[in-house]
């Protein structure tokens, strides 16, 4: 197996400019439940990690459930090239994600990665707002950590139903200024993400990013358009393959139907038919 992988690496080294993708076996290092529906699964590769951009994703094979035939896509959350580990944030939505949250340390999972195109990183001196809801907080936090800007220039709003639905992100204060909203007011601002005071003046930001439930992203995009600030969103359309061959995850855009898995998942909202 290792020989086969090395062979593929060699073959690819002499190839075109297309983005390299791999199918790799990862070992589960930890599977930590943050609350009743959100889990953080950390996985280690025996090979050096491929370079991963914030916003890129992996398609994960679901072990041991015959009712789950296809892989499930997850944003690559925390990436550590020193230990060759990545983590994914799994929110239980159905039988696939439920099965995945039952994996134990030491089990192996097959990942296809890195998939899709990530967020456009901010330039030096810019100020950004990144908004995440539900499992959409994963790519948003990954972006905040990789933006290489002073923390006062990186504002993150994390939205959830209730305080208990929020994942622990205290260590992100090293890279970003974090704000919270909850539907029930149990943490941070009472209301949805767009009711946060930062939305009163979006023109202070050079770029806005969002990932989360569709209504949330559309609300953020609408505000960004009004303020005429560049806005990128990361879509979560249903997909089978994740690498551009099945054409199932299409999104209508100004350039026609595009695959979210290869042309996205990150899109500038001006290119979408929203």
């Amino acid at each position: 197996m290792l020989i086969a992988k090395m062979y593929m690496l060699v073959i690819f080294a002499g190839k075109s400019t297309r983005m390299k993708k791999v199918v790799d076996q990862f070992t589960v290092v930890s599977n930590i439940p943050y609350n009743s529906t959100n889990y953080c699964i950390t996985l280690k590769s025996s090979l050096p990690l491929e370079k991963i951009e914030a916003g890129q994703f992996t398609n994960v094979e679901i072990p041991g459930n015959k009712d789950v035939f296809l892989r499930r896509p997850f944003s690559l959350f925390e990436v550590d090239y020193k230990s060759n580990t990545v983590s994914i944030l799994v929110k239980i939505l159905g039988k696939g994600s439920k099965t995945l949250t039952e994996v134990q340390s030491g089990e192996e999972l097959s990942l296809i990665y890195p998939l899709g195109k990530g967020f456009t990183l901010p330039s030096k001196g810019e100020k950004i707002l990144a908004v995440g809801g539900g499992s959409g907080v994963a790519p948003v936090l990954h972006l905040a950590r990789n933006s290489h800007l002073p923390t006062e220039k990186v504002h993150v709003i994390l939205g959830a139903r209730s305080a208990s639905d929020h994942i622990p992100v205290d260590h992100y204060s090293e890279w970003a200024t974090c704000h919270y909203t909850t539907d029930d007011g149990s943490l941070g601002i009472h209301g949805v993400v767009t009711s946060h005071p930062l939305f009163k003046d979006l023109t202070q930001f050079d770029r806005i990013y969002a990932c989360g439930p569709l209504p949330m992203m559309k609300a953020v995009a609408a505000q960004a358009k009004l303020a005429d600030v560049s806005c990128e969103v990361s879509l979560e359309n249903l997909m089978a393959c994740g690498f551009g061959v099945c054409l199932c995850c299409i999104e209508p855009t100004n350039k026609g139907n595009l695959c979210v898995c290869t042309e996205g998942p990150v899109f500038n909202v001006n290119n979408l038919k929203w």
């Binding site: 296809l70 097959s110 061959v245 299409i250």
Partner: protein
């Protein structure tokens, strides 16, 4: 050394493992993972005369041991293929086969004429079995007269190996196979997807925008295998088998049932390396069972 090469009535394949149309794009997506020269052939994404946007989202639904799709032949048309895609892929060291679709016989013929000009296209697969388009597609493949008509007209303008891809959504697939054989098809490939549907019991709505779609994956393998076996006994031309093949053992079963080559489709969505692993697995099976030539396996079912 074992021999893995097969000859599908003029279509020489270095090994009998191809990727199915609609499951490997134009081959380029596979090159992101590996060197496609390890494959016997690539069936390119179905093309039509003009640009097609395909069906609205959602286009897929997972099912037990498989999936439904309703892509609807999204592609940019044959002229775009020839000007933009063909130059990028033509030198792949594997057999490239174009999957041709149309709403009318005239469209099938016009696309075929353009494809016939391309030197690096080894063969074409006439798709008369797509279940996801309103006009044409499967309509041509479910009755003998229409299957004969489109095969005859396409045959007139295509000098290279002509494969006709059959629909399983018929009463007797051997009748359709015999009909296209009679009009000069060099081989038949089967099966395309089975018409199916899925419903969300909570919302009471269909899971696909088109309500119905094509079922593929291991769920359909036993039916596909049975149809390949029936057709291989009914016609003299070679049969290319597909339908739910996930590993080398599945592939061997299709050879024994009478397939001269196989296509791997939905399995690619699970793991793009599977076609290459199947080639290796077939080779290992042949060493293990002392089979020197893959051709000695074809139709080797012992009853």
């Amino acid at each position: 050394m074992v021999n893995l090469s097969v000859d599908i009535k003029g279509l020489a394949l270095k090994n009998p493992v191809m990727t199915a149309s609609g499951c490997s794009g134009f081959g380029e997506e596979l090159t992101d993972f590996y060197d496609v020269s390890e494959l016997g052939g690539i069936l390119l994404k179905g093309i039509t005369l003009r640009n097609r946007d395909g069906n609205p989202y959602p286009r897929m639904a997972e099912t037990a041991s498989g999936m439904l799709n309703a892509v609807g032949l999204q592609n940019k048309g044959v002229d775009y293929f020839i000007s933009h895609i063909y130059p990028r892929i033509k030198d792949y060291n594997t057999s490239l086969i174009v999957n041709v679709n149309g709403s009318t016989v005239e469209e099938y013929v016009e696309v075929t004429e353009k494809i016939a000009e391309l030197d690096k296209i080894a063969a074409m697969e006439l798709n008369i079995s797509c279940p996801n388009v309103k006009e044409g597609g499967m309509a041509f493949g479910v009755s003998c007269p229409s299957a004969e008509y489109v095969t005859r007209e396409v045959r007139k303008v295509y000098p290279r190996p002509l494969i006709v891809k059959l629909s399983p959504n018929v009463t007797d697939v051997t009748e359709i196979a015999k009909a296209v054989e009679g009009q000069g098809a060099d081989s038949v490939s089967l099966v395309n997807t089975f018409l199916g549907m899925a419903i969300d019991a909570v919302t009471r709505k269909p899971l696909l925008s088109t309500i119905t779609g094509g079922l593929s994956g291991p769920a359909i393998k036993p039916i596909a295998l049975r149809m390949v076996w029936q057709v291989s006994r009914a016609v003299k031309i070679p049969v290319i088998g597909l339908g739910g093949i996930m590993n080398a053992t599945d592939a061997i079963e299709f050879f024994l049932a009478g397939a001269s080559a196989i296509q791997v489709g939905t399995a690619i969505f699970k793991d793009p390396n599977i076609p290459v692993q199947i080639v290796q697995g077939i080779r290992e099976y042949m060493y293990r069972h002392n089979v020197k030539d893959i051709n000695n396996l074809i139709g080797g079912l012992q009853v």
